[in-house]
Symmetry: C2
Subunit: 278 residues, 2 copies
C-alpha cells in the first residue's frame, strides 16, 4: 500500500522542461507500471499490451486539469501535488467537493456521462497520469487486476464523499474543522509522511466551502482549536499537538458549547436522540 513513496522519486522524468504527450519509448512502460503502483495494483509482469499507455501531464499551480462541462477524454490519477475538485454555481458561489492527493482518481464522475460535472484545478505544481477512455476500458477489460484496482479507487472516492457528508452534517464548525484536520492527518500518514505537521495547500475559503461554513468561521475555528491547545496554527502550516484529543473532539456530533471545549477538549454533547430502525 505504501511501497510507492520511494518509487516516485526514482522514476522522475528527465529534467528537460519539454513535455510531449506522444513520447513513446521505454519510459512509457515505467509509466504504465507507475500507474499500477499508484492504484495499488500488482500485475505479475504482464506488459504484453503495448496499446494502453497513460501519459504524464504536468500542471502549474492554479492550472486547470479540466473544467466543468468539458467532454470526457481521459481518466486521471494524481501523481504529485494537490488538486481541488469544485463546481461554480450560477451566482458564482464555488462549492468544493474534494481535495485530491497522490493515488486519487480524477474525472471518474464522468464515467456515467460524456462531460465532466466538476472542474479540477492544481493547488500547487502537480502532475497526473492521464489514461484515455478507450485505453482505460481496454486495460480494464484485459487486466482484471487493474479493473479491481479501479473499483477500489472509485470506492475510495465514494468513501471520501461519505466523509465529507460526515463533516458537513449536523456538526458545529469547530468539530467540522477538527474532522477535516484528522482526515488530512490520516491521509498524510497513509502516504508515509508525518501526520503531526500539515501544510495545507488550500485557502480558508476553500476549506470553508468544503465544510459548508463561511471562511471567517474557519478562521475562528482554527483559533478556537489552537486556544484549546489541540493544534498550533501558523498560516497554512498546522501542527497537531494532541492527535488523540483532536480525534476525540472530532467524534462529537454537535454543540461543543465553547464551554465544554475550554473545560475538557473532548466529547461534545450529542445532538439528536438516537433512532434505530427496528
Amino acid at each position: 500500500m505504501n511501497t510507492l513513496a520511494t518509487h516516485d522519486m526514482s522514476i522522475r522524468l528527465p529534467a528537460s522542461g519539454r513535455l510531449h504527450t506522444a513520447v513513446v519509448d521505454r519510459r512509457e512502460w515505467t509509466c504504465l507500471h507507475e500507474m499500477f503502483d499508484l492504484i495499488d495494483v500488482s500485475v505479475g509482469d504482464a506488459p504484453q499490451m503495448p496499446l494502453a499507455q497513460p501519459t504524464v501531464r504536468r500542471l502549474q499551480s492554479g492550472e486547470m486539469l479540466f473544467v466543468e462541462g468539458a467532454p470526457t477524454t481521459s481518466i486521471y490519477i494524481v501523481r504529485t501535488g494537490t488538486f481541488k475538485v469544485f463546481r461554480t454555481a450560477e451566482d458564482g458561489y464555488e462549492q468544493v467537493y474534494a481535495f485530491a492527493r497522490r493515488g486519487d482518481l480524477l474525472g471518474c464522475d464522468a464515467l456515467s456521462g460524456e462531460r465532466h460535472l466538476m472542474a479540477t484545478v492544481a493547488l500547487e505544481d502537480a502532475s497526473v497520469l492521464a489514461l484515455s477512455l478507450p485505453n482505460f476500458y481496454a486495460l480494464a477489460q484485459s487486466l482484471p487486476a487493474f479493473d479491481r484496482g479501479v473499483m477500489r479507487a472509485v470506492s475510495h472516492s465514494m468513501i471520501d464523499l461519505i466523509r465529507l457528508s460526515d463533516m458537513m452534517a449536523a456538526v458545529a464548525a469547530e468539530v467540522r474543522l477538527a474532522r477535516f484536520l484528522v482526515h488530512q492527518a490520516q491521509r498524510m500518514s497513509t502516504s508515509g509522511q508525518s501526520a503531526r505537521c500539515l501544510r495545507l495547500q488550500m485557502t480558508r475559503r476553500d476549506i470553508g466551502s468544503y465544510l459548508g461554513v463561511a471562511h471567517e468561521t474557519i478562521s475562528r475555528s482554527f483559533a478556537a482549536l489552537a486556544e484549546a491547545g489541540l493544534i498550533e496554527v501558523e498560516q497554512r502550516k498546522v501542527e497537531i499537538l494532541d492527535l488523540d484529543a483532536l480525534r476525540q473532539y472530532a467524534q462529537g456530533t454537535r454543540t461543543p458549547s465553547k464551554a465544554d471545549l475550554r473545560a475538557s477538549p473532548c466529547a461534545p454533547r450529542a445532538r439528536n436522540s438516537l433512532t434505530l430502525v427496528a
Copy 2:
C-alpha cells in the same frame, strides 16, 4: 433506459411465499437479464455463462439488507422498494447518506475493503438482486458491457453524493429541502413516474439527518414551502405545485430571508463572493 418498468412486472417470482436463495432453474436466466436491464446494460444475448447468477432477495419494511461492519459478500442492485443507507455514531446519532431506489447499487462502498461501512435498511417492502463478489468479478471480467454498466452505476452513486453535498453545503434549510424535493422529483420522472406527486418513504428525521438539519426544521421548512405555494404537503405525500418555481428556488445559495420567500418565490441572495482560481 426505461424499458424496464413493464419488464419488472412480467418476471415476478411465483406467489408462493417461500424464498430460496439457491433456486436454480430457467428463472435465473431471466434474473441475470433483469440485472442487465436494471443497470442499463445491453449485451446482445450472451448468456453462455451459467456461473454468474444473481439471486433475488426480498425484504420487509424495516428489514436490514446488511449492517454496518458486516463482511462484504455481495453487491446488490435495487429492484423494487426504497432503501436507506446510513451509519450510527457512537453516541447513537444516525447519519443518512443515501436513499436508494430501483437501479441503484448497494454495497459498492465495500469494494475497497472487506466490510460494509454503512448499514442499509428497507424503508418499505423491497427486493434486490444480490450478486456474490466472486460472481461479480467474474461477470465484470467476461462481459465488458457489464463492467462499464457497473462503472456507470457507481459513478451515479458518486454523483448522488455530490448532490448531497450540494444540499448540505452553505444553504438555508428551506433551500436544502427544496433541492431534496427537486431531486426526488427528477428521480421519479426518470423512472417514468409522475414528478409532481411524491410519496416519501422516509421520516422527517431521516430527511433531517440526510440534509443535516434537525427534524423540527424539516417540518417547518415543509410548512414554509407550502406557505409559499410551491408545494402541498399532507404527511408524507408531497405534491409539487410549481416545479419550475421550486427548481428556481432550489438554485439559491443561502438566506432566502423569509421575506424574499414570501415576496417572490425565487432567487435567494448569494452567499459568498465568488473566488475563481487564476
